[in-house]
Symmetry: none
Subunit: 254 residues, 2 copies
Amino acid sequence: MEIPATGLFKNERHAFIIKEINLHNKVLSSELSQKLNVSEDTIRRDLAELADAGELIKVHGGALSRSYHYPIQQSKTYAHDAKKAIGKKAIQLLRPGSHILIGTGTTMLELVRQIPDDLEATFFTVSPLMALELATHPLIKVILIGGQLDMSSQINIGEKPIAELADIKVDLCLLGAYGIDPVDGLTENDWSVAQVKKAMLRAARQLAIITISEKLDSSLPMHLCPLKNIDYLITELQPDDPKLDGYRNDIILI
Amino acid sequence: MEIPATGLFKNERHAFIIKEINLHNKVLSSELSQKLNVSEDTIRRDLAELADAGELIKVHGGALSRSYHYPIQQSKTYAHDAKKAIGKKAIQLLRPGSHILIGTGTTMLELVRQIPDDLEATFFTVSPLMALELATHPLIKVILIGGQLDMSSQINIGEKPIAELADIKVDLCLLGAYGIDPVDGLTENDWSVAQVKKAMLRAARQLAIITISEKLDSSLPMHLCPLKNIDYLITELQPDDPKLDGYRNDIILI
DNA sequence: TTTTAATACGCGGATTTATGCGGGTTTATG
DNA sequence: CATAAACCCGCATAAATCCGCGTATTAAAA
């Protein structure tokens, strides 16, 4: 083995490379080649070995620190904070051991993400997205109600889920609102989606509506149910907020 | 290749883009080009790659976050290129107008991503993940077969999906392999998952197995079916590769 | 102590990758 | 329906990589 003028063994070079990576989070083959007085080929072989041993990540042109990875994807949805707050409030409705039918939407997603890992419960859903998110919680049993997946609403629609829902009776249904209004009640704009949601309402003893205050006082073509069927209404507002005045009859505001 | 003064590797640019997308839910090619000191062409290529890997949605002028439709964070797939190549080969089995039962796995995901947008077909699946991915194709009808979502395999298991599968007869079943061996045939390691997969096999006239060559010649405890039931075997290898010699009897290698 | 094997390097040349650029085509939008 | 921006395609290029080979040094074997 030929020891160059600067006299470094392979492992010494490796150590140097690791040090550089820890320091700068990245190295260039070309630079290393100069600093260490060896050919780029050798550097490449070094990097290949280190990458192989999992000490760094080889890329074209050099290498990156192993701790360097894509930032965690935390979707910043519209009105994210409000939705997260709502989710937090809604958690208290989730009783251990209960059976819950859950809808979909970004607010609901925030809710699910905040469910504590020690909650043991059974969730039914027609939304593959919610099912996957729910499945990340170790003690939760997820029953996905099948059907034809509707592209725009991302839930399963058609006769199948409606028929299956008819055989279910759960403690609580958590539903997002597209439109909610003191007079028109809960409304929706797509016919087939509305059919499924109505089936969901029938399958639950209690109904909780989860929505940001924006959706209050808006109406859409398809009627789902009157206000009086709603047991809980959860928004990001304080329960005594005047905007909620039209919704106080028999509804528990949270 | 010229690495500019600001000297960012391609991956670093990619990371930056992802970060921007998570922050703003969208990016403009023109802005990125400026911020990163590279040509818009390069940005376009970056966005194309990221879109290809399913990390964002490419649109005219830039890209959008995928988070709303797809908030599930999936780590970069192992042997991504091989799996992509397999997916490409498998596409030819998807006849327009046909009914297809599709399994799950990262290879299958790559396959689905490469389905051309003008394919009109009906897909059945027990995997919520695959259902969501399939639903991004405009002309594809997705039937999600419900059941209890199994956390580890991320598919619906139990009596329900098995019973529903018994009522279905499709043209083709596309299944990934966990173990495949000339003697032991197709094998699997989880009992409940195996039951569902067996129901899938029964529900299809033809069976195509999609797998990277790594899985060849490996056996697991649960037997699914003998080799002779397999109609097509698709790997990243050339059909005449000697590694496939044990699998030539009556199987069409692709 | 030779002989043999193994390892570490460097080098030349073929190949691949990353990028920018020019020019024709498509898309979005007023 | 015009027009500017965005896109796609092919090409050029230079850096980075890969591959095989020769050599030198060391380790192991005979």
